[in-house]
């Protein structure tokens, strides 16, 4: 990572636009989305990023840190290029999410929570995604839904993502 204490202008542009959704005197309302913009750009949220955001919005650092540590979509450590979040809640569990999770652990040769050595995949268990009628379900990188999962469809997904990297 470079040591510049400035966000890329594409990031600040997004933050500035988002800020307009809230009253002028409430810059803290845009912390939640700003963190997403930063994470989308840099891959994860380092302490430096949080300090920089606090500076940028002119807030005490604690205001940013307490948000970053509360919401589950933020990564406070480096993660793989593709974060696979399998739903482990009840409707997905009833449709076999647990064996699928083990299937992925074997296929990727990592444990839940870990990242593959090539830095491509991180495996996470997440809670209900509101895809319960298309269970088992997962999200890739937080917002791309993949539903009605089977071992075969998971294999294909992983293989395709891997292949995409090589070409």
């Amino acid at each position: 990572m470079n040591n510049k204490r400035e966000f890329d202008s594409s990031v600040t542009k997004k933050i500035d636009t988002w800020k307009k959704k809230f009253p002028k005197e409430k810059p803290e309302s845009s912390i939640i989305m700003s963190l997403r913009f930063i994470q989308d750009h840099y891959g994860w949220l380092s302490d430096k990023h949080l300090d920089m955001l606090a500076d940028y919005l002119d807030l005490a650092p604690i205001r940013v840190y307490e948000v970053a540590s509360f919401y589950s979509m933020y990564h406070r450590k480096p993660v793989g290029k593709y974060v696979l979040g399998i739903c482990g809640s009840i409707s997905c569990m009833l449709r076999g999410s647990e064996p699928l999770l083990h299937h992925l652990e074997t296929k990727l040769d990592i444990k839940l929570g870990d990242t593959t050595k090539d830095g491509l995949f991180t495996l996470k268990e997440v809670e209900c995604l509101a895809s319960c009628t298309k269970a088992p379900a997962m999200v890739v990188n937080g917002t791309q839904y993949v539903e009605d999962l089977t071992p075969e469809s998971l294999d294909k997904l992983v293989d395709n993502l891997r292949q995409g990297e090589q070409t």
Binding site: K21, F22, P23, K26, E28, S29, S30, I31, I32, M33, L35, R36, R63, E66, V67, F70, Y71, S72, M73, Y74, G88, S89, I90, S91, M93, L94, R95, V126, E127, C128, L129, A130, S131, C132, T133, K134, A135, V139, G142, T143, Y145
Partner: protein, 425 residues
């Protein structure tokens, strides 16, 4: 049975989410009536009360009554918030309104906001809903272009600014005061009540929070009349309800059907039981509601009073079906793990209690259970219920109490023998 009459009424159209489709269905006509003074805010409240619309977010509070808590003539900023957090396990319904009928939600928000004198409304979607967010943004752009949302709408001097926002992952954001905290850019920790949001809401201003399905129902109620809506359902439960049927059914799916529909008809819509197995149990309203044995559900009707009479509730309409191969100890452990993960942590009974419950269940599943653990689970649940800042406490206690009430033998068996009564060694 007629389906998709209210919130899903655009679904069979060619381009369901488009502005033209919605206009063709007489969309935005009520909003225009209000704007032109052909309908008064008090007419809106009266109609919604007469229609019998109850909040579809889980608590079932009468929507018209809630709208009347805000004094529209009081000076100062007021807010409307649409709760599109949709995170209750088993619930998958609001996202389709946003994907395929966003204009109806926009009109519903505009009508509700104007009725309460709010000039700003936020639609807060859960963090994963980027597709829904984009669909709502597109629709909003169209509505603004048509001059129906924004400043000085159609030259009437009336303002309504609608703002779509998106979270970052936390079930508790769905609790209405936690949502307000989250919009304020904080941790989503529910507020102590009173004061209620109607007095002290977003940024300290009078605020109403409504569920997506509740708000999207409003334009149809006003367009077709409260009687039409009410008659779709039962005497005590007006209108339709969206049920997402998941778990062990042949064709899981989402169905907007009249209130009062027998459960067995809903089950049939979902293709019947998976592999034609027996229906062992159903959680009818999202994982926070009480579980009901299949035998009882098969004779019950899907309405507020129908679910109350079988000891549960409609909740969010998330119908979770379990067949006779389901181990109830495993199922409860899965439900409780969710609450352990999602507790916001500010009340000791909830923070510690969810952890104890899960630990206890894990021990039983690991074959380290003691027969006394079954009563201990019930006791811990009882010490959480009613002793917390928000209703998450009940959401934890109810599954524990009801699973053990109906399936105690399975819990005791697991403790005694170290393996599942259903699955064997």
């Amino acid at each position: 049975m007629k389906q998709n009459l209210v919130c899903y009424r655009t679904f069979e159209e060619k381009s369901p989410s488009s502005f033209e489709t919605y206009k063709k269905l007489n969309g935005y006509s009520t909003w225009e009536k209000l704007l032109k003074g052909k309908m008064k805010p008090s007419d809106v409240i009266d109609a919604i009360k007469a229609a019998g619309l109850m909040g579809r977010g889980g608590a079932g509070f009468p929507t018209g009554l809630k709208m009347s808590f805000i004094n529209r003539d009081k000076e100062g900023q007021k807010y409307l918030v649409c709760n599109s957090d949709e995170s209750e396990p088993g619930t998958s319904k609001d996202r389709f309104i946003m994907q395929k009928n966003p204009h109806q939600l926009i009109e519903g928000m505009a009508i509700a906001a104007y009725t309460m004198g709010a000039t700003v409304g936020y639609n807060y979607m859960r963090g994963e809903f980027m597709t829904e967010f984009e669909s709502c943004e597109k629709a909003l752009k169209e509505a603004k272009k048509a001059g129906l949302i924004g400043k000085n709408i159609l030259g009437t001097g009336i303002d309504f600014e609608l703002i779509n926002i998106i979270g970052a992952g936390a079930y508790i954001v769905g609790e209405e005061t936690a949502m307000l905290e989250s919009i304020e850019g904080k941790r989503a920790m529910p507020r102590f009540k009173p004061p209620f949001p109607a007095n002290y809401g977003l940024y300290g201003k009078p605020t109403t929070v409504n569920n997506t399905e509740s708000l999207a129902s409003i334009p149809v109620i006003l367009d077709k009349g409260p009687e039409w809506f009410k008659k779709l359902g039962t005497e005590k439960s007006g209108g339709t309800k969206i049920f997402s049927v998941s778990g062990h059914v042949a064709k899981p799916g989402v169905f907007e059907i009249p209130m009062g529909t027998p459960f067995k008809d809903l089950l049939e819509l979902a293709g019947g039981m998976l592999d034609s197995r027996g229906c062992k149990a159903v959680i009818p309203g999202g994982s926070s509601m009480k579980i009901v044995p299949g035998k009882i559900m098969l004779n019950a009707e899907m309405s507020y009073e129908g679910m109350q009479s079988v000891g549960s509730a409609i909740g969010s309409g998330g119908v979770i079906v379990m067949d006779d191969r389901t181990c109830m100890v495993e199922a409860l452990a899965c439900v409780i793990k969710f609450y352990e993960d999602e507790s916001c942590g500010q009340c000791t009974p909830c923070r510690e209690g969810t952890n104890w419950l899960h630990q206890n269940l894990r021990d039983i599943l690991a074959g380290k259970g003691n027969i006394k653990d079954v009563d201990l689970l019930v006791e811990i649940a009882g010490k959480i219920e009613g002793k917390t800042i928000c209703a998450f406490g009940e959401a934890v206690a109810w599954p524990v109490q009801s699973f053990i009430e109906h399936f105690r033998d399975e819990f005791e068996f697991y403790c005694k023998n170290g393996y599942s009564k259903v699955k064997g060694k």
